[in-house]
């Protein structure tokens, strides 16, 4: 029982971690809490749905997985379109506000953008849930008492791969280093010749792509809904704060902790209270260690 709950927690936690990385990056580099991050997950899931439906005639599946080549195309398309959407929202809404230097206006605007985007999804795709495939996956026993589907294993593996990739991007490439420098001190970064506008663009591309992948993976293993991203916003923030705002590895750790805690809570609470667990953990962290587990005291 506990083994199964832990496994479910890691699966949910991996999705939360991917979404929280984007959140923690925009929080750190652009310095505001982006409440529209959840909607980037939602749009990612729906963009992928377009590609999957376009390839509806192609029957290809990888081994035991529920999907094949169309899903690879769908993931790439979702990442590209979601990045574009994030840059568009930034250009239309956040960029003018950054210039006007009213601090919390950015947060209000992101709250408004979140509602707007969510209802745009309802308008375009309708309020009913959607699925990438109607096939039913058989779960297999990987450890005594722990059953997972092949798709869920893929989800965790892809998340791990992306986190390692992001690590090398941030620590080895020039652009990654520029992003870290801008996060630490935007003025100093600008003085040393870093193109801050380019860094901002790439922050949205990286954050948007990871959010899109998280949305697709959530849609693949749970379901696609216009409210899916909004329902995840509390776990996303909880993960970012738990790990320490600005810390990419903290977001991953926070995501896993939140995912596991939400699933273990089933032992003492009805499952409907899962989202409240993220909130309680967040409040506890804010009381005890407001900088989070891996956060720097600066923030």
């Amino acid at each position: 029982m506990i083994g199964q709950l832990l496994a479910n927690g890691i699966i949910l936690g991996a999705t939360i971690a991917l979404g929280a990385i984007g959140l923690t990056m925009t929080y750190n580099i652009l310095d505001f809490a982006n409440f529209a991050q959840g909607e980037l997950l939602t749009f990612g899931a729906y963009f992928a749905l377009i590609a999957v439906s376009a390839f509806a005639g192609v029957h290809s599946t990888f081994g035991a997985l529920s999907f094949g080549w169309p899903m690879v195309v769908a993931l790439l398309l979702a990442a590209a379109l979601t990045s574009l959407l994030a840059i568009l929202v930034d250009w239309l809404v956040f960029r003018p506000l950054r210039r006007s230097s009213i601090q919390v206006a950015l947060v209000i605007a992101s709250f408004g953008a979140s509602l707007l985007l969510r209802h745009l999804v309802v308008l375009i795709w309708g309020p009913q849930p959607a699925y990438y495939t109607t096939n039913i996956q058989i779960s297999t026993q990987i450890l005594p008492g722990v059953r997972v589907t092949p798709d869920q294993i893929f989800l965790v593996a892809l998340t791990a791969l992306l986190v390692v990739g992001l690590h090398f991007f941030l620590s080895r490439t020039k652009l990654g280093k520029a992003m870290r420098a801008t996060a630490d001190d935007p003025q100093l970064a600008q003085v040393t010749g870093i193109d801050v506008a380019r860094v901002v663009r790439w922050t949205w591309i990286v954050g948007g792509s990871l959010a899109a992948v998280a949305g697709v993976l959530y849609g693949m293993t749970v379901q696609i809904l216009p409210e899916m991203g909004f329902n995840l916003i509390l776990p996303l923030f909880a993960a970012a704060i738990l790990g320490g705002v600005g810390s990419v590895y903290g977001a991953v750790l926070g995501g896993l902790v939140i995912g596991i805690a939400e699933n273990l809570s089933v032992l003492f609470l009805t499952p409907t209270y899962k989202p409240a667990i993220a909130f309680l953990l967040m409040i506890a962290v804010l009381l005890v260690r407001p900088t989070g587990i891996l956060g720097k005291p600066k923030l």
């Binding site: 003018p96 408004g112 953008a113 409040i283």
Partner: protein, 318 residues
Amino acid sequence: MSGVLSYLVFFLTTAAIYSIASLGLNLQWGRTGLFNIGVSGFFAVGAYAYAILTISPLTGQPGLGWPVLAGLLGAMVAAGLFALLVGIPTLRLRDDYLAIATIGIAITVQLIATNEPELTGGTNGLFAIPQPVAGWLHGSGGVAFLILVLICVALVYLALERMIHSPWGRVLVAIREDETAASSLGKSAFSFRLQSLVIGSMAMGLSGALYAAFIKFISPQDFLPIFTFQVWAMLILGGSGSSAGALLGSLVVWAIWTLSGGLIQAALPAKLQVDSGAIQIILIGLLLMLVILFRPSGLLGRKRPAVHRSTVPSKEQA
């Protein structure tokens, strides 16, 4: 009473109930710079507290059958307690942590409302909620209740205006503008912020209680984040920082909301009408964005409305 008149009474009562919440938000955001995006949560706490306190146990529902006045006061106390709960862990930290915590409390309240049928009626909600002054001015429709709500608006308005222009209110603005300077004069920023959060939330609780009394039926579906968004739109459009602006904004935004709803129903084919709520939200959302971008002080606000980036030392400190 004719249809148009009774509709007008309904419209004004709703707008007035909203305006109480937006007056509370004006104290929190407009005067203190507290970023509460869980307005729907405090509104819901007030509505449920009023309903649970006043519903007669004879209806077979969880109710205590208290008098309506005790229900209204109880609703304010309950909302204030919830404000303490989110304020204490977050108000020492940077501004947006309060925002995240308030949205968290709104979601949690809704979870409790949905999942505790013995307390809240669950998804079926609570019905037969007693209404104050019901039956007064016989045959006048809801005019008596409208008058009661307007009296509440006036009382809240006067009380908040008095507070805002007292030394206490000036400390709030001082903390918002320059926390370091205010602290060095011996003012505890945390304590003042907490007081402002609690008092503002009590107004939201009163607004929720009046809503429950007006509609006489509540369910978790009445307390979605859209409510928070509407109240914010009212305050920002009316003019953040100004109580009169909060009142005017409530009237204008509620009018736009109602009219656009009617227009959409009249103009759009039936297929799209399912999503008319979505179109309304997009319209109000666009309006809100335009106001923030091009007239951040709103209709009646002062020229310098929000906290200036360079004057927010809490960001670096927290």
